[in-house]
Symmetry: C2
Subunit: 450 residues, 2 copies
C-alpha cells in the first residue's frame, strides 16, 4: 500500500511538472477566464460543498468532545454560505489583478543585433500544506493559476471531505469551461503519510507555501529543502523615542496592539526611552488597561507604573493576544540592540520627531519592514498596494516582507542574435560588448527595430 501511494504522489507531482511547462504559456485572458469559472463553480456547487463540509465538522465536533481538537480548529474548519461567497469573491479579485507574467524586466543590447531580455515567468510547481482552513486550498490554487504555476495541495485530514470537493470543483471548472488550461495543473494529495514524501521532492517542487500555526510552518521549514515562502512568528516592537510626539506615540502604540492583536504584525513589546518614560507610561498604561490588555514590565517600567514583572522569556514571546511587555531603554541604540536580539525581522516602528534618530533605528535594524511614525499593522500586502497577498516572508532570499503575486514568479533570459559566436568576443582581438539598456519588450524570434 505504501509503495503504491508513493508511486501515486510521485506520478501526481510529475504530471504537475509537465502541465507547468504548458501553463507557463497560457495567456492572461485564458487564465483569468478560468479563475472566473472557478468562482462561478464554487457558487454553483454551494449545496454539495456545504454538505461535504458539514460531514467534516460533525467529525471534528466528535473529536472536540473527546478533547482531541480545539474549538478554534472547528471554527476555522466550518464553512457557511457567506464564507463561501467570500471565497468566490477572493478568486474573482485574483483574476482582476495585474498579470505577473510576461513583463520585460530589462532589455539590453549586448552588441549590434544581439539583444538580451529578462522576462518574468512562472516558477513552475508550487506546493502548499495547510491545516484546517479549507479556504487556503482555494486561495493558493487561485494564486498559482493566476501566476501560471502548477500547484500541489495537501490539506489536513480533518478537512478531507471539504478539500476534496473544493479541489474537484476547481479542476472541473478549469477542465470543462476552458480547454486551454493543461490537465494536471492542480493535484490534491490526501494521504497524511505523503507529507514527508512531498517535503523530499526538492527536485520537482519549486516553492512551498505552508499555511497554519507558527509551529506548523516551522516544522515544514525544518523538514524540507524546498524553499519555503512563509513566516513563523512576528515579534514586533514600537520604540517611543525621547524626541517623540507623545500623543502620536500613544495612538500608534495603541493601534499596533489593540486594533487586531492576533496577527503577526501586532506589537508584542513596547520600548520606551528613559527620557520620556515617566511622562508617557502612566497614560499609555491606563489606555491599555481600559482595553483589557495584560501588561508586563521590566524593573524600570515598574518604577513608573504598576504592572506585573516581565521575565526574560517575555522579550521572545509572540502573545498574539491582548498582552504586551514593556521595557524602558536608554536610547535609540539600546532599542536597536534589543530589537536585533529579540525581534523576528518582521516589522519594527519608531516614533520620533528627530530624523537622525529615525535613521539610526531604521538602518540599524535588520527587519523586512521598518516604520517611522506609523503603526506596525501597516505591514500587509493589501496596505502596501501589492494586490493579492501571497504571504509574508521573514526570510531574506527571493521575497521579503509582504509578498504579492511577483513572489510566485522568476525570470528567464531571452537572447536574440543573428549568428553571433563567443569566439568573436574572446582572445586578443576580442570585439567589445556595447551593453546598452533600452526600453523594449521581447518579441519572440525578432530583433528590435531600434
Amino acid at each position: 500500500m505504501s509503495t503504491m501511494s508513493e508511486y501515486d504522489t510521485e506520478a501526481q507531482v510529475t504530471e504537475a511538472q509537465q502541465a507547468a511547462l504548458r501553463l507557463a504559456n497560457v495567456d492572461e485572458e485564458t487564465r483569468n477566464a478560468a479563475l472566473n469559472s472557478i468562482a462561478d463553480a464554487i457558487r454553483d456547487n454551494e449545496d454539495a460543498i456545504l454538505e461535504a463540509n458539514a460531514a467534516d465538522v460533525d467529525e471534528a465536533e466528535e473529536m472536540l468532545a473527546a478533547g482531541e481538537y480545539t474549538q478554534a480548529l472547528v471554527d476555522r474548519l466550518k464553512l457557511d454560505s457567506g464564507k463561501l461567497e467570500s471565497i468566490a469573491e477572493m478568486v474573482e479579485s485574483v483574476a482582476e489583478q495585474d498579470d505577473p507574467l510576461g513583463e520585460t524586466l530589462q532589455a539590453r543590447q549586448l552588441d549590434d543585433d544581439l539583444e538580451l531580455y529578462k522576462v518574468a515567468v512562472p516558477i513552475g510547481v508550487v506546493g502548499t500544506i495547510f491545516e484546517s482552513r479549507p479556504d487556503a486550498l482555494v486561495q493558493i490554487a487561485a494564486l498559482s493559476l493566476k501566476s501560471g504555476n502548477s500547484v500541489i495541495l495537501k490539506g489536513g485530514s480533518e478537512a478531507g471531505e471539504s478539500n476534496r470537493i473544493l479541489y474537484e470543483t476547481i479542476v472541473e471548472a478549469t477542465a470543462e469551461a476552458i480547454d486551454a488550461i493543461p490537465e494536471g495543473w492542480a493535484q490534491l494529495i490526501e494521504a497524511h503519510e505523503e507529507v514527508d514524501r512531498l517535503l523530499e521532492m526538492d527536485d520537482k517542487v519549486d516553492l512551498l507555501m505552508p499555511r497554519g500555526s507558527s509551529e506548523f510552518v516551522s516544522y515544514i521549514q525544518d523538514n524540507t529543502q524546498i524553499p519555503v515562502l512563509g513566516h513563523t512568528e512576528g515579534i514586533c516592537h514600537v520604540y517611543v523615542d525621547g524626541e517623540a510626539d507623545l500623543e502620536m506615540a500613544e495612538e500608534i502604540s495603541f493601534d499596533a496592539k489593540v486594533q487586531y492583536p492576533a496577527v503577526c504584525n501586532a506589537v508584542e513589546t513596547l520600548l520606551v526611552s528613559e527620557a520620556v518614560a515617566e511622562q508617557f507610561l502612566p497614560g499609555m498604561v491606563e489606555r491599555y488597561e481600559d482595553a483589557d490588555v495584560t501588561l508586563r514590565g521590566d524593573d524600570r517600567t515598574r518604577e513608573v507604573v504598576d504592572v506585573a514583572p516581565a521575565t526574560e522569556a517575555d522579550w521572545d514571546t509572540e502573545y498574539g493576544d491582548l498582552e504586551l511587555s514593556i521595557k524602558v531603554v536608554e536610547d535609540v541604540y539600546d532599542a536597536v540592540e534589543h530589537v536585533n536580539t529579540h525581534g523576528s525581522k518582521h516589522t519594527e516602528s519608531i516614533v520620533t520627531e528627530d530624523g537622525d534618530t529615525a535613521e539610526t533605528f531604521m538602518t540599524g535594524i535588520d527587519a523586512a519592514s521598518v516604520f517611522h511614525n506609523a503603526s506596525t499593522r501597516f505591514a500587509d500586502g493589501y496596505r502596501y498596494g501589492l494586490g493579492a497577498e501571497v504571504g509574508i516572508s521573514t526570510g531574506k532570499i527571493h521575497a521579503r516582507g509582504p509578498v504579492g503575486l511577483a513572489g510566485l514568479t522568476t525570470y528567464k533570459y531571452y537572447l536574440e542574435g543573428d549568428g553571433q559566436l563567443v569566439a568573436t568576443y574572446a582572445g586578443d582581438d576580442a570585439e567589445p560588448f556595447t551593453h546598452v539598456d533600452f526600453d523594449g519588450e521581447w518579441t519572440p524570434g525578432q530583433l528590435s527595430d531600434r
Copy 2:
C-alpha cells in the same frame, strides 16, 4: 576538542552576524577604499603569500606522488606572481562596480504623508565553501564586502596555508587602513569537521556560494537548509531547426562546443531536425572531427554520418570536454521535449530563420537562458553586462542564470508616516489608500516634498 571548536565556529558566525548589522550601513566610498586596500595588501604581501602557497603545493605534490591528489588539483592550487596580480586586479574591478546597495527600487504613496520605499540592502551573512582554488577566497570576500555582507570562508585543507595568509591579508587591510569596516566581517573556518556544523547554521548564515566540482556543489546543496547560489551541471543543447541558416548553424554549433569545452555553458548535445540532417550533418561532423571532438550519435544520426553510437546515458552527460552527442529529432516540439527531459535548465539555443518556431522553442523550454541564433557560450555575467559575476544559478528562487552583485542583496521596506493608524483604514468607515507610485529616494526620517 570537538566541543571547543564547535564553540569557536558558533562564536565566529555570531560575530559575523553582529558585524553585518553595521557593515550594512557603511557607505560606498568606504567599502571601495577597503577593497582597494585589499588589492594593495595582496601585492605588498606577495612574497609571504607565495611562500605559504609553496608549502601547500609541496604537500600536495607529495599527495600527488602517493596517488591521493590529481595533477589538476595541484594546478588549481598553485599561485604565482601573475596569478596574484590577476587576483589583485579582480578585487579592484569589484571596487569599480556600481554600488548594489541603497537603490530605491520602488517608492509608493499609500496615503497623504504615508510613503513606502523599497530599498536594496545586504542579505547579511554569506558563506562559501570551496575546494583547492585559493582565489575563490579572495573573490567571495571581495564580492561580499562590496555588497555589505559579512562572509564566512571555509577552504579545503590542501590550501590551508594559502587560505590563512590570504585571509589575514584581507582582514588586516580592512582593519588597519579603514576604521569604518566593522571587525569580524570576515571569518575563516579551518577545521574540516566544522563544515557540517556550518551547513547546519541556517538560522545565522543567509546564503551559501560553494565553489568546486559538480559533485561538491551537489553535496553542499543536499546537506544544508541554507539557500545555495550555484549550479551543479550544465547540460546545454543547440537545436538546428529545419528552417535554419545552415552556415550559421554550423558556426554556432562549433563555437558552442569548441571555443571552451570545459565550461558549463558549452553544448553537450546537438539536436538536428530530420528535415536538414542529411544536408547539415556531414559538413558539421567533419568540422568537429578536425577539431578533435569525439562524437556519438543516435541511430538516425548514424544513418547519415559515421560516428560511434550514443547510449541513453549520453543524453544526461555533461562531458565538459571535446565530446558531443548528436540526435536527429522530428521537429521543434521533439527538440523541446528532449531538452525539458534531459537539460539542466541552464542554457539552450535554437538556430532558425522562423520566428514562430523560435518562440515555440524559447517559451516551451524551462531554462534560465534560451537563445535564438546565438552560441550558448554567451550565458555569462560579464557578457550579459552584469558586472562582477557572483555565480550562475540553475535554481529558480531568488536568482536565476548568471548572477551579478544584486544576487547578494535583498530589500527592506521603509515606511515614513506622520502618526497614521491602521484603525483609520479598517472597518465600516475605512479611509481608502491612494497607492500612487512616484519617483523618489528614501530620505531617512523625512516625508518627500512632493
